[in-house]
Symmetry: C2
Subunit: 526 residues, 2 copies
C-alpha cells in the first residue's frame, strides 16, 4: 500500500531533527512537519471534511501549501492547488468544477475570498494561511490555519489510517491550463506520485542530502513532482513564494542549495543579472530543466560560471505526474555517446511504456513521427467528472499526450510539435516545425510560421507566413525552392505569405499562428 | 495503476529484440517473452482459471518458471512458486493450504505429480514444463506447457486488462519456511514488487544493461526480488537450474554476467575452486549478498580476483518483497565514512519506515536493541487465509520481523539476533549474541552458545554452553569474570556448562541451541 503520509512518518522517525521545509526564515523539522500534518488532518476532520472531499488552496508557494499537499489524503480527501495566475472568473470556474468544501487563501489572494465564497456555494470553510492574522478584507468567518492547527494539535492522534486514501486513490487534483476549453482537473494518486519519485528520482540523480529550492509555482506538476520527490527522499525543501532572480540567488547562497528546476529562460536571467558575480552559488550540483532544449551556448556559460554543475532534462506533463522521459546528466557531457542526443528529451523512464502512434493508434516504427502516447503507473486516474474526455484521452489504454514526436533507433524521444498542429495534405502528415526549420535556414528569413489551409483537393495544404530580415529580399519561389532542397516536397510550403513587419505574438510571446491564419483566410475570402 | 505485465509490454515495445531470458541454450527476446506470456494467459483462461485462483509451480529455475511469475496476474490469478526442497508431505501441505487449480511440474518433480494429484483435490490440471514430452510417470491427463502455448498462441489477444490484477492485488504467494509450525503463504502485490524494483534497484546500483545471473531458487524472494527488478529494468536474465560452481563460472564467462546475488559461502566456494583461475569472470561488476556480513578477508580476496567488482548487501525477507535495508557499494570501499558500518546491514531503503520497538511496541532510541519493525509499500498484504497470524505480525500497522537489532546514530541497522532468542532476566533484555561475543573473546573459548534457562526468581537466567580449545583451560568463574569486564553484569552468564568436545550442530550447520538446552535440562532434572 502506497501512502505519502507513511513516507513522511518514516522520515519523522528516521531523521526527526533534519529540516523538512524552510520558508521566509521559518523552518520545520521532519518531526514538526509530521506533527503539523497530523494536527491539521485532525482539524479538518473536526470541521467535517469527509473522504472524497476537495480542499482548495489559492496562494503562493509556502510551507503551508506543501503541508496541504498531503494533509487531505490523511483523511481520504483530495488536495487542489489552484492556479493563482488565472482571472477571478477562471478561478471561480475551477472551484465550480471541483466544488471544494474548504478554501485556503494567503494574503496575496485574501481579497478574492469573499467573491469566491459568494460564487461557489460548495465552500463551507475559509482558512487563511500566512504570517499575519486574517485582515478586514476577508470574510468574517475566516479561521487562521495555524490557530486551527494549535487547537487541534494536542488532540491529534498519530494516524488516520482507517480513513486515509491509499495507492490508487486520488490524492491530488491539478488543473491543466489546456489551450482549448475549460481547465480540466487531473486526478493523481499516491501510485502516480510514487512511481515518479521512486522510479525517476534515481534517473534524475536526486539524493536524500539534497537541499532543494522550489521556486516554480506549486500549483503546477513541474514543481509539484519535485515536492513529491523531496518528500520521498526526505530532503530539505527551501520554498520561494515566487521566482525572483536576486532573491533566488540569495536563497541559493544562504542555504547552499544543491538542486533545483530552472527553465532555460530563468537560467539566462540569472547569468545575465549584473549582481550574479557577487553571489556564491557554487553549491549547485544538479539543475533540472523542462521540455525545451537547453541552448548549447547557455549550457556552456552555466558550466563555466558554476563549476561541476550537471544538467538533467525532464519531459512530462500533469497527466503523467509528471516524468515521461529523462535526458540524464551523462548525456549532457561532451564526448559521451548520449551527447549527440541533446536535441531529444531523453529516454522513457523505466516504468513508462512510451509509443508513437498514427491517427488510428497504429504503432509507428522508429524514426517515424506521430503522437506520443504512454501507459504505466505514472498515468493519471482520469479527468475529474469528465468520463468522456478521460475515455478519449485514454483510448486503447494509453494516455494520448497531444505531443508529436518520434523515437530514434536508440530509444531517445524527439519532439516535433503538437499533434493538433499537424497538417494532413494528400494523406501525408506534416509537422510545421520541420517546415519552419527549413525556412529559417534561409538567410533572408527572420520569422516563419507554418500551418494548414483548407483545400478541396488535398484536404489541407502547407502554408507559411514569413517575415524577412530588414534589408534582405527573397521571393516566394526562392523560399519554396530552398525548402524543397532540404525536406520532402510535400512538406515544403505550397504557398507563402510575405508578412510586412514582425509576425504577431500571443500573450505568452509565441508566434500567434491562429491570428495569422485567420487574417490570411479573411484576406483571401476563403 | 501498477501492473507487472504492463512493464513487460513496455520492454517488448521498447527493446523487442533484446534478450529477456536465457536458459540452457534457449533464449527469448522481450517481444517473444511478452508473446509467450499473453499466449499462456489465454491458455490458462481457456482451461477455466478464474480471477483469484492459484497456479502452483514445482520445479527448478527455468524460463518457464519466470514466465509463470507473471502469467497468472494477467488474468487476475496468483502465482505460487513452490519450495521444491520440501518433503512430499510438506509440499502436499503447501498445496492443501493454497488449493491451486493448476499444478505445473518439470522433469525433476514429475514423479510427485500423481501423488500430489491424489492428495490435493483442488488441482484440476497438471502441466509439464521441460524440454521433453511428459513421460509415462506422469498422470495421463498431463499437458505440455509449450503445446498449450502453441495452440493458444494464435488466439491470444494483446491484453487481458479487464481481468488483470492491479496495484494492491495479490499476484504472488511465496511460502516462508518458518522455523515453527506450517509454512505460511505470504501474499505479495504488484505494489510490493514495484516498490522493491523502482525504489531499491537504484540503491543497489542495478542497470538496464545488466546481464543478470539467477542461480538461487526462484521459490525464494531473495532471487524472486531480482527477477522482479530484472523485469522492471528490462535486463537480460540468465537462469541456472540450480547453483553449481563450475557451471556457474561457465555461465558468467559465456554470457559476460555483470550482476548476481551470492551468499558469502557461495563466493568462497567459487574462489576456492581449483578450476577458478581458468575462467574469465572479469565481466562481474556488482555482487549482491544476503543478510550475513561479508567476511573482510573474503571480500579482499574477491576484489583482488575480480578487479573492479563492487559489493552490495541487502537485508530483507519474503514479507517485505524483500529489501528493507541496503549497505551500498560505496560503504564497502575502504576510506569512506560508511566503511566503518560494514558490520551493519545498511540503511533502510527510502520508502521503508523502519523502527526498533520493545515487547510493548514502544519505539526505542538509537543504539538500543529491540525488534525490527517496518511499514511501507513493501509490506505484504498478509498471510494467506491466516487473519490472526496476519493481525499479530502487523500489530500497530508495522510488520514485525522477529529480528532483533538497533539503529545507530547515523541510521544504520545492526542485527543482533532473533527476538525469539531474546532472554528476559529480571526484566532486562539480553540478546545471546552479545554474551556469545564476550565469551568468544576469551582465548580458551572455541565455541559458545547462550540461551535462557527457566528460573523461579528471575523468570529466566543467562546460561552458556562452552567448548574450550584443545589444550586450553579456563574455569567457569574465569569465564564469567571475563564477561563481566566486557558487558553488563546481567548480560554475563549466571551459569556455564563446559562441554566435552564440539557443540552439536543443526542440519543447517548452526550450533543447535535447542538440543544443548534440552540436554542440560534433562541432566539437571529441571
Amino acid at each position: 500500500m502506497i501512502r505519502y503520509p507513511d513516507l513522511i512518518r518514516a522520515h519523522a522517525a528516521r531523521t526527526p531533527d533534519k529540516i523538512a521545509t524552510i520558508f521566509e526564515g521559518r523552518s520545520f523539522t521532519w518531526a514538526e512537519f509530521n506533527r503539523r500534518l497530523h494536527a491539521m488532518a485532525n482539524a479538518l476532520a473536526t470541521l467535517g471534511v469527509a473522504p472524497g472531499d476537495r480542499i482548495a488552496y489559492l496562494g503562493l508557494n509556502s510551507h503551508w501549501l506543501v503541508e496541504m499537499y498531503y494533509v487531505p489524503s490523511m483523511i481520504g480527501a483530495i488536495s487542489v492547488p489552484v492556479n493563482h495566475r488565472l482571472s477571478l472568473d477562471e478561478i471561480a470556474a475551477t472551484l465550480d468544477d471541483c466544488t471544494p468544501t474548504v478554501l485556503i487563501v494567503d494574503r496575496h489572494f485574501g481579497s478574492l475570498a469573499q467573491p469566491l465564497l459568494d460564487r461557489c456555494p460548495s465552500v463551507d470553510h475559509i482558512l487563511y494561511a500566512d504570517w499575519d492574522l486574517p485582515g478586514p478584507g476577508l470574510p468574517p468567518e475566516t479561521q487562521h490555519y495555524d490557530m486551527l492547527l494549535a487547537i487541534a494539535g494536542p488532540a491529534a492522534g498519530d494516524a488516520f489510517d482507517d480513513r486515509a486514501s491509499a495507492s490508487d486513490d486520488t490524492m491530488f487534483l491539478f488543473y491543466t491550463s489546456g489551450t482549448t476549453g475549460r481547465p480540466k482537473g487531473v486526478m493523481l494518486s499516491h501510485t502516480n506520485a510514487f512511481a515518479n519519485s521512486a522510479g525517476s528520482g534515481a534517473v534524475y540523480g536526486y539524493r536524500a542530502d539534497d537541499m532543494l529550492l522550489l521556486t516554480g509555482p506549486l500549483f503546477h506538476m513541474a514543481t509539484g513532482g519535485r515536492v513529491n520527490t523531496g518528500v520521498y527522499y526526505g530532503s530539505t525543501m527551501v520554498l520561494q513564494a515566487r521566482f525572483e532572480v536576486v532573491e533566488m540567488m540569495e536563497l541559493v547562497e544562504t542555504h547552499r542549495i544543491t538542486a533545483m528546476t530552472l527553465v532555460p529562460t530563468m537560467l539566462r536571467m540569472v547569468l545575465d543579472h549584473p549582481a550574479f558575480p557577487g553571489f556564491d552559488i557554487s553549491s549547485l550540483r544538479c539543475l533540472t530543466y523542462g521540455a525545451a532544449p537547453m541552448p548549447l551556448a547557455l549550457m556552456e556559460r552555466a558550466v563555466e560560471a558554476i563549476p561541476g554543475v550537471t544538467f538533467v532534462q525532464g519531459y512530462g506533463m500533469t497527466e503523467t505526474a509528471p516524468a515521461v522521459a529523462i535526458l540524464p546528466a551523462m548525456d549532457h557531457v561532451p564526448g559521451t555517446p548520449g551527447y549527440a542526443k541533446l536535441g531529444s528529451v531523453g529516454r522513457p523512464v523505466p516504468y513508462a511504456d512510451v509509443r508513437i502512434v498514427d491517427e488510428n493508434d497504429n504503432v509507428l516504427p522508429a524514426g517515424e513521427a506521430g503522437e506520443v502516447v504512454t501507459r504505466g503507473p505514472h498515468v493519471m486516474n482520469g479527468y475529474w467528472n469528465r468520463p468522456e474526455e478521460t475515455a478519449h484521452a485514454m483510448r486503447g489504454g494509453f494516455y494520448h499526450t497531444g505531443d508529436a514526436g518520434y523515437l530514434d533507433e536508440d530509444g531517445y524521444l524527439f519532439l516535433v510539435g503538437r499533434t493538433k498542429e499537424m497538417i494532413i495534405t494528400g494523406g501525408e502528415n506534416v509537422y510545421p516545425i520541420e517546415t519552419e526549420n527549413a525556412l529559417s535556414s534561409h538567410p533572408a528569413v527572420a520569422q516563419a510560421a507554418v500551418f494548414g489551409m483548407p483545400d478541396p483537393t488535398w484536404g489541407e495544404t502547407v502554408h507559411a507566413a514569413v517575415a524577412l530580415h530588414g534589408g534582405r529580399e527573397a521571393t516566394v519561389e526562392d523560399l519554396i525552392a530552398h525548402c524543397r532542397e532540404r525536406i520532402a516536397h510535400y512538406k515544403a510550403p505550397r504557398a507563402i505569405t510575405l508578412w510586412v513587419g514582425a509576425l504577431p505574438l500571443s500573450p505568452t510571446n509565441k508566434i500567434d499562428k491562429m491570428a495569422i491564419r485567420a487574417r490570411i483566410l479573411e484576406d483571401t475570402g476563403v
